[in-house]
Amino acid sequence: MSDIMVYSNSLFNISALDHFGMLIIRAEINNRKFQKIIKDFFKLKVPSRLKISTNKNFYLAWMSPNEIMVITKNQDEIKTIKSSIENDLDQMEALVLDVSSSRTIFSIKGSFWRELLAKGSPINLFPSKFNSDSFRRTRLGQVSTAFWMIKEDEIYILCGQSYKYFFFKWLCNAADEKSINKFF
């Protein structure tokens, strides 16, 4: 009954990554006090619009004007982090939720990832518009997703946990070597 989701061919390695912890923080993220608390806590600036900031422990992603997402590379820490940051934000109108189980992250390795994403997303994926610190919420096919670059040839894609089987199939289909357009 294990859900091993791994696919590879000559162009891509696709795998579902289960080790991340995720928090949603809702607050007015332009608030200076909020920005300071976040910076002190994560040692990272609150990301600006459509951006993701990162250091060796965390990703902080801009979700909307009143939402950021924290992704920790170590899932086990998430409870502690949640209660500490909740504590720090206590005086503010804010909501912190553990959503580690809600979402799945897929890694796509392979330099043609733009070609793959352009099969399903209506956004502009030229490197001038989508690059190393971009974070974009959009759709891929019929599934709501968000994605960002890890390296030149690797991208992470977030999708809802209940869609992961469907989405994995979608990714594998899109990754077919002989269907990759050489456009970018």
Binding site: R49, L50, M63, S64, P65, P122, I123, N124, R136, R137, T138, R139, S144
Partner: protein, 107 residues
């Protein structure tokens, strides 16, 4: 296939990333309103061939509602602004006025 700039993300969002929400700037009629007022609020909608104020949701995106002013005939877009503006901003109304007066056949 329309596209609008989401005033929150500043991205050009494709129509397939958006959900339409009908006429903008309706005033809600709750308890205490007359039957006619309530009827108008609930059912009377403008459907102009021309300038229209609309609500759209950036559903495959930041999840925020926003307002759009566009021409339903030519599909021109005059501007987008936050859903928490109860009236269209003057800046956008000026753009509408300017474009109409500059000889564009809108009506």
């Amino acid at each position: 296939m329309l596209k609008f700039i989401c005033p929150y993300c500043q991205v050009e969002a494709d129509e397939t990333e958006l959900t339409p929400g009908g006429e903008a700037h309706l005033k809600r009629m709750g308890p205490g309103s007359s039957d006619q007022e309530f009827y108008n609020y609930l059912f009377e909608r403008k459907n102009p061939r021309g300038i229209h104020f609309e609500r759209w949701l950036h559903s495959y995106g930041c999840g925020k509602w926003f307002h759009v002013v566009r021409c339903t005939k030519t599909m021109e877009v005059f501007g987008t602004y936050s859903a928490q503006e109860t009236n269209p901003p003057k800046k956008i109304l000026d753009i509408v006025k300017h474009r109409i007066s500059s000889g564009k056949k809108i009506k």
